[in-house]
């Protein structure tokens, strides 16, 4: 059982580090982990769940606002949703999503339709990618605990 735990812990450590190195997560995610303890063991997962729900809602708002068939695009409406997504992605450490929001905001400000549509597609892909990766990470945590081990603290630096 110990060999399994060690192996899982190593996988968890490597995977976590790769997520930071590939720019999916930044130090705000680390900050969130600090807020998790035995009293609130699922805090990070709960916040990320809320974040992904936010993504679905906001991206749908953006898509609706960018729909040209209903008339002229209201870029301030798009921008408002992008601003909110930028805020929540920043709060959870979703680094790539946040970076995309920065570009997206610029396209909104310059009323660049193609740019906005491109960003919308990219942000949709990006949050889904992150969601999958974090699911894998949380699954690893579960496996470690089920095997009787402790989830290691991963030092990113």
């Amino acid at each position: 059982m110990d060999a399994l735990i060690t192996q899982l812990q190593r996988q968890f450590r490597d995977y976590t580090i790769s997520l930071y190195q590939q720019g999916f997560l930044d130090d705000q995610f680390t900050e969130l982990k600090k807020l998790q303890d035995d009293g609130s063991p699922d805090f990070v997962a709960e916040v990320l769940t809320l974040f992904f729900e936010d993504c679905v809602k906001l991206i749908s708002n953006m898509a609706r606002a960018l729909d040209q068939t209903t008339g002229n695009v209201d870029y301030s409406k798009v921008g408002a949703s992008v601003h909110q997504l930028k805020g929540s992605s920043s709060s959870v450490g979703a680094k790539r999503v946040k970076a995309l929001c920065v570009s997206f905001k610029d396209y909104c400000d310059t009323q660049n339709f193609e740019g906005c549509v491109r960003c919308l597609q990219q942000v949709d892909i990006e949050y889904k990618t992150l969601k999958t990766k974090l699911q894998d990470l949380f699954n690893l945590e579960k496996q470690i605990i089920q095997a009787g081990g402790r989830v290691p603290q991963v030092d990113i630096n």
Partner: protein
Amino acid sequence: MALGGFSSELHVLAVDDSFVDRKVIERLLKISACKVTTVESGARALQYLGLDGPNGSSSALTILDKQDLKVNLIVTDYSMPGLTGYELLKKIKESSAFREIPVVIMSSENIQPRIEQCMIEGAEDFLLKPVKLADVKRLKELIMRVGEAKEGLTKSSSPKRILQNDIDSSPSSSSSSSSSQDVSSLDDDTPSSKRMKLEPKSS
């Protein structure tokens, strides 16, 4: 640390329209041993405080009801639909019942004129989002020091900043001009780029 007139825990009212941010700020405050009430708008905050009466006045009954839920600190996001954090700040400072409560503004945008505007209106501090544990710890210490100062001195109309310099004997606190709101270097974890400073240079 003695808490002077405060009950054993600071009760913080956190105002933010983002569900994610509310959850995070709530946890940040709870882990820093604060009681927390979160609301999603300035209007709801005023309602909670009992300031949403016809003239913006509070009903005495509401205050009495809430004695045990007395708010010691208000932390609010700046950009919110409806009442902005700045407008909420103004309403609180206009109220005789609540103007003594410290108000802290949070924003994801580091806009100097905005910061100054809030400080001039009486905000205690301005936090750049995303808010970290170190920010909350620093804030809590500030609030408790301000509270102790009020307990120890007769209430005067001295501006808070002078009060802080008088009572603050901590060697790590800012010793620059009184316009500085960089309250502490107690926490060195926080990169200086995250700090709200009135002076353009960073320490």
